[in-house]
């Protein structure tokens, strides 16, 4: 059984179809990139997969559960237990240190564990910056804290929305290297991006245009 199955999903806002009869399957451990220009429906897709929105039509089966039919409370639980979110604008709590930001995710999931949070920061090369506030970190460092926070609860899927959108090339490479490492460890990655370089390193890329899935590219030269 696939980890994620999107069947005939549409999202309709009045006369506008943000998603139009989309079908997509993501296997366990797969690294998928979702590409498309602005307004193509990428963010809507991300919100639906991330349990922050529901489709108007269709089914979204995540780990055997149709999240399109679940209540808001249940969606919060699924998001907490199965999904790790990475944002373009990092979205760290500005008055908490790096390690505390990672622990916030543990706090809502199960039990905060500072040692484990420090280990997650070590994985992204930021253990020595653990006690720094977001304002004392560079953009790349903030994004790595965001990745550590997404990883800490061992989610089924890491869902990244333009993870390198605000980063310079050096930091972009660091983030891609972390994704590669995560993929090797068996983490399922769904990366929404408009950057072809980021999409190229994924196992598979799907292209959205005007809410429709118009293309699907398998990366033949994908490095396992």
């Amino acid at each position: 059984m696939s980890l994620l199955e999107i069947k005939n999903v549409s999202k309709i806002y009045g006369p506008l179809k943000a998603l139009d009869n989309v079908n997509l399957t993501v296997e366990n451990g797969e690294w998928l990139a979702i590409m498309g220009p602005s307004g193509s429906g990428k963010s809507t897709m991300m919100n639906i997969i991330g349990c922050m929105d529901k489709p108007s039509l269709g089914e979204v089966i995540l780990d055997g559960v149709d999240i399109a039919k679940e209540s808001g409370k249940k969606l919060t639980e699924i998001r907490r237990d199965k999904i790790g979110l990475i944002f373009q604008q990092f979205h760290l709590v500005n008055y908490l240190t790096a390690v505390e930001n990672v622990m916030v995710s543990q706090y809502y999931h199960s039990m905060p564990d500072e040692k484990e949070a420090l280990e997650a920061l070590e994985r992204v090369g930021l253990k020595d910056r653990a006690k720094h506030l977001p304002s004392q970190l560079s953009g790349g460092e903030q994004q790595r804290v965001c990745i550590a926070r997404a990883l800490i609860n061992h989610p089924e899927i890491i869902l990244a929305d333009e993870p390198t959108g605000n980063l310079d090339e050096a930091n972009e490479n660091i983030v891609i290297d972390i994704f590669k490492q995560l993929h090797r460890q068996g983490t399922t990655l769904i990366v929404v991006t408009h950057d072809p370089e980021v999409a190229e390193v994924a196992q598979r890329t799907v292209v959205l245009e005007h809410g429709r899935l118009v293309n699907e590219i398998k990366n033949e030269g994908f490095e396992e």
Binding site: G50, T76, Y95, V104, Y107, E114, R149
Partner: protein, 389 residues
């Protein structure tokens, strides 16, 4: 790490690392708590403070005989024992006798001058208060009639016979009389009936009349509210043989009216201050929630339930309330002390119980003020705010 520890770590970090915004809220709570604590202190201290002020208006209780006879010292002492010693400002016994000076009839009264000064502090004396036997305090009206002043001598004559003297007896000097010379220590100005009397000491009166341990009434000044005074009067009348206690209504009634109005005013101001504090805290918390919509959205995206969001904001609000309450209870005492020193010219007591009460009230008021802003935090849609919409 326990969840509660992380909860405390988050809310303290929010308060300590976002000082400027939280200081505004803390200031609002602390000012509210200061005025609340100060006014409550004044509210409870006003009766004592005003009671002391009212004592300068004269006695507020009177002992008279309940059996038609005269009062004795032992009866007066028994009645006085029923009153809490710390509340008894003074008790002046009085005895009135008809006498003559230069054959002019007048009323002489004996009293304990030290006690009379306590029960009637408004008496003004031109000269000195009598300090020894053989000295008299002459009412202004009598002094004018007799044309005497401080330092002069007057001779008081007491008729020992019960029946009034006939003109014939008086001419022949056949009456049985006692007389004694008194030095006028001072002239008494009260604006009342006292100006028609000559006041002498109790031993002088006993020597002149030959009758000892006899009193017509006792005036008392008691620092208590009307309810307490009525209770004392009732207890004394019921339990002390031969003594009837009653209140000087003119004094107690006005005291009660002024106190009630003053306390009502303080209460009203306290309620208004609490309401203003609530509005101020609610406004600040609403601004805090609006400013942190992205953070709320993020927390929800990370899996926070609405309950968690409410707990966190309420936790911050209640912690602020507790700190503001603690600050307010200390500042409130300083405020009340300043008011008391300026208005009543006396210091007030620190009531320890006001510290927990102020903290609890501050926490409750802050909690109530936070309800609406915190409720609005749960309406945040993470998908929208994280996209910056």
């Amino acid at each position: 790490m326990k969840k509660q520890t992380m909860f405390l770590r988050m809310i303290t970090a929010s308060l300590l690392r976002r000082r400027s915004r939280m200081l505004v809220a803390l200031l609002a709570i602390a000012v509210g708590a200061t005025i609340l604590s100060g006014l409550v202190t004044i509210y409870y201290d006003v009766p004592r403070q005003m009671g002391e002020q009212f004592r300068s208006y004269g006695a507020n209780m009177i002992f008279t005989s309940s059996n038609g006879k005269k009062l004795s010292k032992s009866e007066i002492d028994s009645a006085k024992k029923k009153i809490n010693n710390s509340q008894l400002v003074g008790a002046a016994p009085y005895r009135y006798e008809n006498m003559t000076v230069y054959e002019r009839p007048l009323m002489a009264a004996s009293t304990d001058f030290d006690e009379a000064q306590k029960t009637s502090p408004y008496w003004r004396v031109d000269g000195e208060w009598p300090s020894a036997e053989g000295q008299a305090l002459v009412g202004q009206e009598i002094a004018a009639t007799l044309e005497v002043k401080a330092g002069d001598t007057v001779t008081l004559v007491y008729d020992l016979d019960e029946a009034p003297a006939t003109a014939d007896e008086a001419n022949k000097g056949e009456r049985n009389q006692n007389s004694r010379d008194f030095t006028v220590a001072g002239i008494l100005d009260t604006g009342g009936n006292e100006e028609k009397y000559i006041f002498i000491s109790v031993p002088d009166m006993e020597a002149l009349t030959g009758k000892t341990d006899v009193f017509d009434m006792t005036e008392l000044s008691v620092s208590a509210n009307r309810d307490e005074l009525e209770k004392y009067a009732d207890t004394i009348t019921k339990n002390v043989d031969g003594v009837s206690a009653r209140l000087v209504k003119r004094v107690t009634q006005s005291e009660n009216t002024v106190l009630s109005k003053l306390q009502a005013l303080v209460l009203l101001v306290t309620v208004i201050v609490l309401l203003l504090t609530m509005i101020c805290v609610a406004t600040t918390m609403m601004a805090v929630v609006t400013e942190r919509r992205k953070e709320v959205g993020l927390r929800k995206a990370l899996g926070a339930s609405n309950k968690s969001i409410i707990f966190e904001f309420m936790g911050e609000g209640l912690l602020l309330g507790a700190i503001g309450g603690l600050l307010g209870s200390v500042c409130g005492f300083i405020f009340a002390q300043a008011v008391s020193m300026n208005v009543f010219n006396s210091s007030i007591q620190f009531h320890w119980v006001l510290i927990p009460i102020t903290i609890i009230v501050s926490v409750l008021v802050t909690g109530l003020s936070c309800l609406l802003p915190v409720r609005s935090a749960t309406d945040v849609d993470p998908a929208l705010v994280l996209k910056g919409e």
